[in-house]
């Protein structure tokens, strides 16, 4: 085992990355052969260390015998600062996986570590900001109050909340709407407010569950661009659930393709398109190649 990890070290970064994806696929058999320390040692060779570590996690809804097995033996590690997309057919457990990371559910088996902490500890440390599929704004609060709700809950003083609200409203370019109520905003604007709210206490991780699912194609693309812009400026790690293959390829560093229920990670596609991404990205042959790869992994080609 010792010789194996040394061999990996000498192999160079490209080599490691290649092996890593192979490893994650063969993780179950590997884990049997490697000690825990060595197993993680391999991941620590990667320069940006994993921020979220999901180790053979299963989730069963309902009774142990006749419940629904939503996730089966899922292993995945998300690097700090990465933009990772989860894609897969409906009902394959994408939302479930996201909720497990956000500690809205607890795994039936396996372990999740977030920045070295349990999901519960990470939630209490406010490491994650969550954006749901619907904006989930509170209709009795105006936009500024909605954005600062998380700060109110951690007991931040009013001047700080005001300052942060201004900052975030500038970030999503909705300064003029601070005193408006949610119903006065379009669906796309409401989604942006939800994203700003998730960023309010500067979480290291943004968990997004099909945030643009209910929007039209044009708004979707625009918000996608703005999300990338925001991601580069706010330096957060994003786990992004989507149904759209082009969206996943356009935005992500890596796309994790999930299999139908019970969900597992079928394949991880490394999106090595140059950043910053723009409309010109779509002219690259590599873009189409990656699109095809993801579609193939989904069984669409």
């Amino acid at each position: 085992m010792q010789s194996r990890s040394r061999q990996l070290q000498s192999g160079g970064k490209k080599e490691i990355a290649k092996r890593l994806s192979a490893l994650s696929r063969a993780s179950a058999s590997l884990r049997a052969r490697l000690s825990r320390r060595e197993y993680f040692g391999i991941f620590f060779l990667e320069k940006p260390s994993p921020l979220i570590e999901i180790e053979s996690v299963s989730k069963r809804y309902g009774a142990p015998r006749d419940g629904v097995l939503a996730l089966s033996d899922v292993s995945l590690s998300v690097r700090a600062g990465e933009f990772l997309s989860l894609i897969g057919p409906s009902g394959c457990g994408k939302s479930t996986l996201l909720k497990l990371i956000g500690d809205l559910l607890t795994p039936s088996a396996g372990r999740i570590t977030i920045a070295g902490k349990s999901p519960d500890a990470a939630r209490r440390a406010r490491d994650c900001g969550i954006v749901f599929q619907s904006p989930t704004l509170m209709e009795w609060r105006n936009i500024a109050q909605n954005i600062t709700l998380p700060l109110e809950i951690i007991g931040a003083p009013l001047p700080e909340r005001r300052a942060r609200a201004d900052e975030l409203l500038d970030l999503i370019r909705l300064r003029d709407f601070a005193a408006r109520y949610p119903h006065e905003l379009s669906a796309g604007m409401q989604m942006q407010v939800a994203i700003a709210r998730a960023l309010a206490y500067r979480p290291a991780i943004l968990l997004m569950d099909e945030p643009f699912g209910a929007l039209d194609e044009m708004t979707r693309e625009r918000l996608g661009r703005e999300l990338l812009d925001l991601w580069t400026r706010a330096r957060v790690t994003i786990v992004f659930v989507t149904h759209s293959v082009p969206e996943a390829v356009r935005l992500s560093d890596r796309v994790a393709v999930m299999s139908p229920r019970p969900g597992r990670i079928e394949r991880i596609v490394e999106i090595d398109l140059p950043r910053p991404r723009s409309a010109a990205t779509r002219d690259l042959p590599r873009y189409w190649e990656l699109l095809r790869q993801v579609r193939a992994a989904l069984g669409l080609e």
Binding site: L104, T136, M138, W140, R141, P150, I153
Partner: protein, 272 residues
């Protein structure tokens, strides 16, 4: 010519005064409708030569109203009725909010308690009224309690529905912020359940009025309901009418009061 005259009519209609009239036409017509109604009433009495005790004229009712308002009889009984309504409604409000919240948060408890709650609704409350009269002798409180019993259930149901209907994502949201129970209660549950709860309040205030008046009619020795009974006994039909008018005005005022309160609380709502 015809074209010209249509044009000028349209111009008048679009002028500021015309627009104002068009917008508020339903309010402008109210006094006219009332006037027409009173005239028809007067004509009916005059033509058929009804005796006063059978159907007084609007004028006689108005005279009785003014007289009994001056000598304080109407005001005194109105005051008592209002106190009873206020008391009964407050009791129902408090219990509906407390019990409703607890039941909404505890499905097990709701399963245990709800058959009894439904059973109390199946009993005609007025039928257990005499029991309450036996138990509690202190005037307004017994009437208030019966009114509270009638008012309680719809408000309770609305509280439960209001709290239950909060979408799970909102709870997840609060959970992800690691909000404590009190924060979830004040920042999510109360404001989110309030609109539905107020639907119950609107029904509740009306039921409180009905409850108190019915009980007064049946066995009280004061209040507007009693006054109706009294006027009937005296064959003082104008007073009976004057009391009904007072009662209606009171009920309408209370209802509008709730509506105004709702407007103030839910100022963020879409204006239709």
């Amino acid at each position: 010519m015809a074209v010209g005259s249509t044009g000028s009519a349209a111009e008048w209609w679009d002028a500021p005064v015309g627009t104002w009239i068009r917008k508020n036409i339903q309010y402008i017509l109210i006094p006219f409708a009332l006037m027409a109604f009173l005239l028809a009433w007067q004509a009916l009495v005059v033509i058929n030569r009804y005796p006063t005790f059978l159907l007084p004229t609007p004028g006689e009712v108005a005279a009785s109203f003014v007289e009994n308002w001056r000598n304080g009889i109407l005001a005194r009984h109105l005051g008592i009725t209002l106190v009873e309504i206020g008391l009964g409604f407050s009791i129902a409000f408090t219990f509906a909010a407390l019990v409703g919240y607890v039941l909404a948060r505890s499905p097990l408890l709701e399963k245990i308690v709800s058959p009894y709650l439904v059973a109390t609704q199946a009993i005609p409350i007025v039928a257990i009224g005499p029991l309450i009269v036996i138990w509690i002798n202190t005037g307004p409180l017994q009437n208030a309690l019966i009114a509270a019993l009638i008012t309680f259930f719809p408000m309770l149901v609305n509280t439960i529905v209001g709290v239950r209907n909060i979408r799970h994502e909102y709870r997840d949201l609060m959970h992800s912020y690691a909000a404590n129970a009190w924060q979830v209660f004040t920042k999510l549950e109360v404001p989110a359940a309030l609109p539905v709860f107020f639907g119950g309040v609107r029904v509740g205030i009306t039921l409180s009025v009905i409850g108190v008046v019915v009980v007064e009619l049946l066995w009280a020795d004061r209040g507007l309901g009693f006054l109706i009974n009294f006027a009937r006994g005296q064959l003082d039909t104008p007073l009976l009418f004057a009391t009904v008018v007072t009662m209606s005005a009171m009920a309408i005022t209370l209802y509008i009061g709730v509506l105004i309160l709702e407007r103030c609380i839910f100022h963020w709502r879409r204006k239709v």
